[in-house]
Amino acid sequence: MSPRTVPTGFEDFCQSFKHWRIFTLLGWHRVKGNYKRTVLGDFWVTLSLAIRIITIGVVFSFIFESSRADYIPHLALGFIFFGLITANINFSCKIWVQAAGIIKQLPIPLHTHLLQLYWQNLILLGHNLVILPGIWWYAKISPDWYMCWALLGILIVQLNVSWMSLLVAVVCARYRDLAQIITNLMQISYFLTPIMWTPDKILGKARLRISWINWDGSNWRWKETYLELLDLNPFYHLIEIVRAPLLLKPVQDHHWIISLAMMVIGWLLALIVFQKARPKIVYWL
């Protein structure tokens, strides 16, 4: 036994994984708990998702004049994975505030509560992915090893969502108004991300032209490039790296690059903020 004290941000983060039993069991329990004594149990989530996909899919495929076999699978996967992202970020706004009772009783690392949230949402993702075979059948594609890239995609999405949630949890614990703002931002992102619409509708039409002068050894020359406004949306890249492989479409490199870069920079930022804020978080609750 060695002497311990209140953990710092980094220590809290590292220790949180040791309590894997707590967050996996409690997370599973919470998921089941919400659907106790109902007929379908936890698969109500899946059913309501399927209903939404079918109704919106049929209506909007008429509006966009695209084939249902193309549009509906695109919509379905966008719903599922953007749902994962929003669920994590929205719930982490209030996660410590809601768990204030437990936090002020048992010295469980703060990050463990977030791990529990991620676990719950991954379980729900599993429930929702049950419709994948249906999606594949409807899109007339058969499973292929190429789709395994989506597993890597899901990992990277989760790793990105995790730093965003940590950051959100810290700032919302201090500034309660931010929770509302973030929920609204996520709603707006829903429309700004190609979930209900396909990227081809915007790519090439909403761009910034960037020009600069380049010295090529003998002359000054104008160079220009285009920046797609859509590329500024972080969720666009995250959704693409899971959705494209599952629909047997190629993933452009820049999606991977941006997602990985976001992950590295995001985690550095989140951990630094958490380290600074950790001693005060309990007092904000």
């Binding site: 039993r21 707590i22 437990i102 048992l106 005060k280 309990v282 904000w284």
Partner: protein, 246 residues
Amino acid sequence: MSAKIEAQNVEIDFPVYSETSRSLTRQLVGKIRNRVEHRSGRAIVHALRGINLAINEGERVGLLGPNGAGKSTLLRVFSLIYPPSSGKIEVTGKISSLLNISLGVEPELTGRENLMIRGIMLGLTPGETQKLLPGIIGFADLEEFIDLPVRTYSDGMRLRLLFSMATATHSDILLMDEWLSAGDQSFHNKAAERMQAMVEKAGILVLASHSVSLLKKTCTRGILLQKGEVLLDGPIEEVCEFYQNQ
């Protein structure tokens, strides 16, 4: 190393965040006087100041003091929940704390289900918790009610349930807050015996209570807190006398 709690110059400040923080300060200043400071637009309550304590294994400490003295805060400092605003806190040994009667209790679930969840939160595997259940239910005298939702329990029953759970496994340090007084006399006796047994296995007990009889029965050392500071620290009889004579 053996169980130990060591606090050096611990100070705890609570910031009060509120739109009416300025007016709140003015209100509080009247009541708490020099414990509330106005700093950069918000009120800060000095909950604990200059706490220098060492508690060694085998000691059974009783925390006394009027309401608002800082007993619950000090217990939370010992549980490593509140990071000190200044100073240092070091705790050696496994902590088991019972600071609030409704800790993580889900009112809709049964007592049994709550015990299982509690077990998980305390770091036990479901198998280990299952094995402990008969003993816990027996000690708490809740055989008839264990499969009913906890919202149907009285405060006393909830207390028995949680106390029984918290003391079911060995821990080196046991921290308890004053709600223990919600129990009846027979429960006090049972609880006192059990706490004694736990501490005899070379542990530390810190119990905050208003019930002088409970403290005299269970504790060896007394710490009297007032307005966030340690007023008196000594043998329990002495400290209780002093407190009662105030």
